[in-house]
């Protein structure tokens, strides 16, 4: 029990440290077990320092920085046992364009390196442009959803008309 938890922590932490640097284009971060001697009772704290900033606990970071850091953690856990499918529902919502760009690059690398098929739900124009294909969901009849294939060049009008 305890052994497995610590081994999982080490694996996830190693992966997390690398993914943070890829998503932030620099900086450093690490996970920490806190509040208890026994890892089975401990809490998981996240320490992060975006490029050029000092190391701080997650709660002191900006909204976008917190989201990107949490994503690094989610992907780190994912990579310890990659599934054949990965679905990301609007995870890029609080990110600015520079961070979205690095987020998309990471997803592209993961898609290319492994066998995982990705489904990415987004409102971000930049993310849409990086997809291999696009489906639009519409409600031309109110309350009833329909799926349509979207030409990547038509993406702009798809995301936002209601």
């Amino acid at each position: 029990g305890r052994e497995r938890m610590l081994a999982a922590f080490e694996r996830v932490n190693t992966s997390f440290e690398k993914l943070f640097v890829r998503l932030f284009g620099g900086g450093r971060a690490h996970l920490k077990l806190v509040d208890a001697e026994d890892p089975l009772d401990a809490g998981l704290e996240i320490m992060a320092s975006p490029p050029g900033k000092r190391l701080q606990v997650l709660s002191l970071l900006s909204g976008g920085e917190q989201a990107l850091t949490a994503l690094a953690l989610l992907f780190a856990v994912f990579l310890t046992n990659p599934a054949p499918i990965c679905v990301l529902d609007e995870v890029d919502a609080p990110l600015d364009d520079a961070n979205v760009d690095r987020f998309c690059s990471l997803v592209e690398d993961l898609a290319r390196e492994g066998a995982t098929r990705f489904l990415v739900i987004t409102h971000h124009r930049m993310t849409m442009a990086r997809m291999d294909r696009l489906y639009g969901v519409t409600m031309s009849e109110r309350g009833v959803s329909q799926l349509v294939s979207v030409d990547l060049s038509r993406a702009e009008e798809m995301r936002a008309t209601a």
Partner: protein, 168 residues
């Protein structure tokens, strides 16, 4: 194991039969607020054996059945089918003879959920184990729902540690 396709009928706002192809690489899903994008994600989790109505944003599981709109009446049945390719023979023994696997979950108002795998009735437990085995259970870290990132940020450290248990 590869995921190939999702088919929904009567599930939340997808009342008419709808097919979503799951192809290699990255597939984007876009559309205005409330059009049904997250409902697709929930349909996938539901077919994998999700047991909590709350995690489907409902009070009870019957809430996933199309409830009607101003012009159409509500339905009494919802069905989602998930198609997998098992060429690498990685699924639990009881289903491992098949190249293609079709998992169907159906709910009838007031009667609960029923599962079929390749046409043969199956227990919820078998379906959950099938997906857990390929690292993609309804609660696996690979399905990042709309509130998930926010939940990790606001979670107390002790709640957050649960994410490690997915990796253990």
């Amino acid at each position: 194991v590869n995921f190939l396709k999702l088919r929904l009928t009567g599930f939340k706002s997808f009342v008419d039969p709808t097919e979503l192809l799951i192809e290699p690489g990255i597939t984007g899903i876009v559309g205005p607020n409330g059009c049904g994008k997250s409902n697709l994600v929930e349909a996938l989790r539901w077919a994998m054996g999700e047991t909590s109505a709350k995690r489907m944003r409902g009070g009870e599981m019957d809430d996933v059945i199309f409830g009607g709109n101003t012009s159409r009446p509500g339905r009494n049945i919802a069905e989602v089918a998930l198609f997998l390719n098992n060429a690498d023979r990685k699924v639990p023994a009881q289903f491992n003879d098949f190249d293609d696997i079709e998992v169907v979950r159906r709910i009838e108002r007031g009667s609960g959920s029923f599962y079929r795998v390749n046409g043969k009735e199956a227990r919820a437990r078998d379906v959950q184990l099938l997906f857990a085995d390929v690292a993609s259970g309804a609660n696996s870290p690979s399905l990042v729902s709309q509130g998930r990132v926010g939940a990790i940020i606001t979670a107390k450290p002790v709640e957050r540690r649960a994410i490690l248990e997915e990796a253990a």
